[in-house]
Symmetry: C2
Subunit: 213 residues, 2 copies
């Protein structure tokens, strides 16, 4: 019975790692589609996100099943309850990757990136991908140090987000409302992606240390 229980908990962790890996692929592909106006990759992302949603729903059922049958306590309970929240955040990260891919598809064959913001969005994309990779590492290794690294990356992302608004509100994009809308939304999607990555990291911290700070 104890062995079955330990196996169920390992499965929670493995499923979280798997979903996080797919989120990493999704954001890598979405930002590549956005940067290169590649509509084929954009469509692949949109399909892949459905798989992530299905896996997150399965993980939820698995976690609820553990709660119902095995009555976990202490750190085991924190992992199972945390998994329900982490799956919701990972799903939202996948949705945001999908939104970025959709922006690329809407504007195709034009670029969704207004002039003068190319480098900024390349850096935001790199930060998002790195955060997703760090999440995979955190979920796999359960090393508490990785949490701080993810928070630092999110701070960098927030700075770039503020920079996009500065640029968008300057004169340079006057007469280009489409560019203003696209940059506003894309930047917001990147910023929210980072926020959800931090939420997942905080849940892992709570599981590992019992503390949220």
């Amino acid at each position: 019975m104890r062995e079955v229980f330990q196996q169920s908990l390992r499965e929670v962790q493995e499923r979280l790692v798997k979903i996080a890996e797919l989120v990493e692929d999704a954001i890598e592909n979405a930002t590549s589609a956005f940067g290169n106006s590649d509509v084929a990759i954009a469509e692949k992302v949109i399909d892949d996100v459905e798989e992530i949603e299905a896996l997150a729903a399965e993980l939820d059922l698995h976690a609820i099943d553990i709660l119902a049958r095995q009555q976990p306590v202490a750190s085991d309970l924190r992992l199972v309850v945390g998994a329900l929240r982490m799956s919701a955040s990972l799903e939202r990260m996948a949705d945001l990757a999908q939104h970025i891919a959709q922006l690329a598809r809407y504007r195709y064959p034009e670029s969704a990136i207004p002039k003068g913001l190319t480098k900024t969005f390349v850096r935001m994309a790199a930060l998002d991908v790195e955060m997703a990779a760090k999440l995979v590492e955190l979920l796999r290794t359960q090393e508490l140090d990785v949490v701080a690294e993810i928070r630092d990356l999110d701070d960098d992302l927030d700075e770039l987000h503020a920079k996009v608004f500065e640029k968008v509100l300057s004169d340079k994009l006057a007469n280009n409302p489409t560019g203003v809308v696209d940059a506003t939304l894309a930047s917001r999607y990147h910023e929210r992606f980072g926020d959800h990555a931090v939420s997942v990291a905080k849940q892992m911290q709570f599981f590992l240390s019992g503390s949220l700070d």
Copy 2:
């Protein structure tokens, strides 16, 4: 023991109703601040949202405590697990009300609403407030019919969201990048508010009927 358990479950429901009522107040005040450029109300919303976050965190601890001590099953388990998800969605709704209030405060004493979009945002605000009120009703009465009403309101909201983009991308707002940014963000906040209301409604449906469809 059974009596204690029933009381704990009633408390879950009561806490959800309380948080939803505060979210209703927050969105009502936020959209009023946004529509009337009222910076005092905007600041009140920003403060009130902190209380909502604290109540949501308390509800989470209460729900985790029930899971740990009372091992609920079947619909009781669905309520407690659902409460963890609903509290996260209600908290996000409060955040979105806060974002709307912040837009009003940033632009003060100017209006954050670009010309030609006043009526659309008044309608979006009315829909958001109505959805929040319906959520309170659903959580209090547990009447399954209310779920469909909330979904219908969300469809109306999505239509208005599409309309804002149409307007923003038309010539009328050329040379007004601030207006384009504000309208883009505000409309997105309203749309997300509706999506989270639907998420909460779906969780209640799952609790009440055991089915997600």
